[in-house]
């Protein structure tokens, strides 16, 4: 006998049916319903990691309030906590280690009614590999990249990005969480400073199982975008946890 009716054999939460209805994800999303908590979450994600005092100061709230909300976010599985001594103080008198928060490795996704696009993506990726249809995928990705570039130009008032910082801002809309090069370093000789690095891989779990395929697709997606804007290039630059692509200005510029 199969269970195809939600909520028959099992109760409302912590069950197979509950999971299908995203109980855990709803809990996590619920923790973000509070606007202060949402701002804290974004602050921690943008910073990479943050302590209670930095976060409180940045948001203009008390340290106690920041601590309360940060711990709620950690409790919901959205942030993870590490205890660390700050500013190099050690030994007796250094005080208790401070809590440092960063985004957790858990992914939260919520589709109601239940949807499973990730399973579909895996099956499609496996089929592309088996058929050796990578070229078709790359071509499609490049076209999509160009479409995104046009869309971003239309959305912004400034037209196509010219500077690397503008590229970073435009890619932020696609979920890459770019880190723009520090001011003054732009146009350097291809060093770290002359590149936009992308801190988030939007295809993370697929990339873990199908690395060349997914990273290849992502590279072509970004190439399509930055080449349409002109003056930029994208290259493979794998980085643990981040996106495998870096973007820089064309050398001949």
């Amino acid at each position: 006998m199969t269970e195809d009716t939600a909520g028959t054999a099992d109760g409302p939460g912590g069950t197979a049916a509950g999971e299908a209805f995203g109980e855990r994800a709803i809990g996590a999303a619920g923790a973000l319903a509070d606007p202060v908590r949402r701002r804290l979450y974004r602050y921690v994600c943008e910073r990479g990691e943050a302590g209670r005092s930095d976060a409180a100061e940045a948001l203009g709230i008390t340290r106690t309030l920041a601590a309360f909300h940060l711990d709620r976010l950690a409790g919901a599985g959205l942030l993870e906590v590490e205890r660390r001594r700050l500013s190099g103080r050690q030994g007796p008198g250094a005080g208790r280690p401070a809590k440092v928060y960063r985004r957790s490795g858990q992914e939260v996704s919520l589709h109601l009614p239940p949807r499973d696009y990730e399973a579909a993506a895996r099956l499609l990726a496996e089929a592309v590999e088996r058929a050796g249809a990578e070229e078709a995928l790359y071509a499609v990705a490049r076209e999509e990249g160009r479409r995104r570039a046009a869309e971003a130009e239309g959305a912004g008032s400034a037209g196509a990005p010219v500077r690397l910082e503008e590229v970073a801002r435009a890619l932020a809309a696609c979920g890459y969480e770019p880190v723009a090069p520090a001011a003054g370093q732009e146009g350097g000789e291809g060093g770290e400073g002359g590149e936009v690095r992308l801190r988030n891989c939007p295809f993370r779990s697929l990339a873990a199982d199908f690395p060349p395929l997914t990273c290849g697709m992502n590279l072509e997606l970004l190439r399509g975008t930055v080449e349409r804007w002109g003056g930029f290039q994208a290259r493979t630059a794998p980085e643990p946890g981040g996106c495998c692509v870096a973007i820089s200005k064309n050398n001949e510029d």
Partner: protein
């Protein structure tokens, strides 16, 4: 340190002979990428032809099928080299430029006692095992890795670090 090492073999069906101009990018990349492997953390050994720096002349699986075979300390060191070095990832990404799809698994991983070097014949048997039964303790893949004998009981899923 484990008393087992990870053996890896993959085969590729060439689109054209290695001296064909269409294969130039692949051939040019061989030496630098092999040097990268030799220097990578966890690298133990790789198959080479006598008097050569690679194994492209070894063709036990057919005249157009080349073999890549190596030994590593563990799955994670091989995974790091395979997927987290830009030069090697670029080769994998472009593999269809140079290799015909096999339509079945072309890469197999298995454990060997540390110090014993695998042979292409053995690799061929492991590949057949993988193709016949799917991933298991005697023949597996990056996607479905199995622990070294005696390391743990049951199946071990190796996940990407956060």
């Amino acid at each position: 340190m484990s008393d087992h090492h990870l053996a890896q073999m993959n085969i590729g069906a060439l689109r054209a002979p290695l001296d064909d101009p269409s294969m130039a990018d692949f051939v040019t990349a061989l030496d630098p990428v092999n040097a990268l492997a030799d220097a990578a953390p966890g690298f133990v050994w790789r198959l080479t032809d006598e008097g050569a720096n690679d194994a492209t002349a070894t063709r036990p699986f057919g005249p157009d099928v080349i073999v890549n075979m190596s030994v590593w300390e563990d799955v994670e060191s091989l995974r790091a080299f395979t997927y987290r070095s830009a030069d090697h990832l670029d080769l994998l990404r472009r593999r269809r430029d140079w290799f015909v799809p096999l339509g079945r698994p072309g890469l197999v991983l298995w454990w060997v006692p540390a110090g014993r070097l695998p042979t292409p014949e053995e690799g061929g048997e492991r590949l057949e095992l993988l193709r016949a039964n799917g991933p298991g303790p005697d023949a597996f893949t990056f996607r479905d890795p199995y622990p070294a004998p005696g390391a743990h009981t049951g199946r071990e899923r190796v996940t990407e670090p956060g």
